[in-house]
Each structure stands twice: as C-alpha cells, then as structure tokens.
C-alpha cells in the first residue's frame, strides 16, 4: 500500500473517500470515470456498486496496458474496466497468458481457481489489489 500511496499522491483525497465508501453505502459513482456501465443505475444495488468500484484507477490502467500489448491491440482501442477479454478477441490461452503477465508485472502469484474466474479487466484489477495487500501485510 505504501508504494501505491506514493505513486498516486494527487489522487489521495479521492482514495480516502473511496476506501471509506467501500463499506458504507454512499454513492461512489461520481468519483470513478471508467465505470461507464455502472453509472446508468446509480440507485439500484448500491452495495454492489461499492464493491465493484474498489479497484484503483492506476491498477486498471496497468491491466489495460498489459491486455493491449498481449492481444496486439492498437493504442486507441477502448479498454475499460468492464471489458471482457473474450470481447477483445482473446481465447482461453490468451486469458491465461494475460494473467501470467499480470503476475509478473505485480510480483504476485495467483491461485489457479481464482485466476480461472477472471473474465474482465475489473475482476483482474480487484484480484491483483487483494493479493498485493496480502503480500505487503
């Protein structure tokens, strides 16, 4: 966590709001720009929104970069948090390769069962953050 705070000092006030909103039911929606699909339903299922917005922006960015490089996508292709890997033309081997790339990038090891469930950029970012937290804890 220390490294993430030093590298994202400008976003610090937003993060403190985000970490507190993880378990409260305030609206985290205006803070995150990338969850376009979730802004359509701001009032229904706020608890689910709080959990899904838990991934940090920079993690999502890094994951998107790795995905783009792996699948050889052009730089202006939109990869948001909710994008599924299969939508971008990845087959199952590509998904495993992306997961291994993320393991190398963040220095973590993902258990097989958890890595199998990853289908979107958002899930990958959340799992990464969880493991990074466990590692530094």
């Amino acid at each position: 966590m220390a490294t993430s705070f030093t590298s994202s000092i400008s976003m610090q006030p937003r993060f403190s709001q985000a970490t507190t909103t993880r378990f409260s039911l305030q609206k985290p929606v205006p803070v995150f720009k990338t969850n376009l699909s979730f802004t359509l339903r701001p009032r229904s299922m706020p608890a689910r929104l709080a959990i899904s917005c838990a991934a940090k922006q920079e993690t999502v960015e890094k994951v998107s970069e790795i995905v783009k490089k792996q699948l050889s996508l052009s730089q202006d292709q939109k990869v948001t948090a909710g994008t599924k890997f299969t939508d971008l033309g990845a087959d199952s081997l590509d998904t495993v390769e992306i997961v291994m790339g993320l393991e190398e990038e963040f220095g973590i090891t993902m258990a097989e069962e958890r890595a199998k469930e990853i289908a979107t950029v958002q899930q990958a970012a959340e799992l990464i953050e969880e493991l990074v937290l466990e590692k530094t804890a």
Binding site: K69, Q70, S92, L93, D94, V96, E97, M100, G101, E103, E104, G107, I108, T109, E112, L131, E134, K135
Partner: protein, 133 residues
Amino acid sequence: MAAPFTLRKVGVPPNSANLTEARRRVFDFFRAACRSIPTIMDIYNLQDVVAPSQLRFAISAQIRNNAHITDPKVIDLLLFKGMEELSDIVDHAKQRHHIIGQYVTGEGLVQNTGSKDQGKSDFLKNFYTSNYF
C-alpha cells in the same frame, strides 16, 4: 507469497479422461512454464536478449500450434514432451544457443525446417522419400 517457483519432477500422470481435463493440464503446464521463466532467464543470461513477455509468447505459440488436436491421449503425449523439454531447460541440460535459436528467433529445430531442395521435381521428391511410387 511469491516464493521462488520450483518445478516438480516429470511424472507420469494418469491419462486424461476427457478434453476438459486435458485442457486443464495444458493450462497448468503453461502456468508452470511461465513461472519458470525468471529462472530460465537467470540460468542462460537472457536478460539483454529477450523480455519475459516474448518468451511467454513463444511458449503460447508452440501450444497454439497444436490447438486443433482433440484426442486427449495425443494431448497427453504432447504435454509429456513439453514437460520433458521444460525440465531439460530448467536443469541446464540445454545451452544458451539452443534456447535462443528455438525460442527467441524464429528458427526452431533443424529437423523441423523443410529440406533445401524445394524447387526440384516431383520425381526427385518421391525418389528421396521411398522406393515405390
């Protein structure tokens, strides 16, 4: 977390019952190979030559080469050969030029490249392969 990854010995696992299990084995093999990449780069001093992502791509390309196979027994055999190759590489039984030639540049093994006489006639090709044509 992130303890150094050690490769298990090449065992002879029971045959895969169906395609799903063979698929799972393929992914397990791929994960084991990817996690051995730091060791491999360390052993053969490939740090300046290639990036880990390139090696991952080379491994996945080889797996993808055989992606069309549907028989679980054939997949098992290919996996066995793959595990054997991986063990050889990790045990430093190969040398740097093997690794670079097979996985970094696109050359591959000499036995897999086509023969030099591609432009020759069909008669000669048949003549080289067998007595009866």
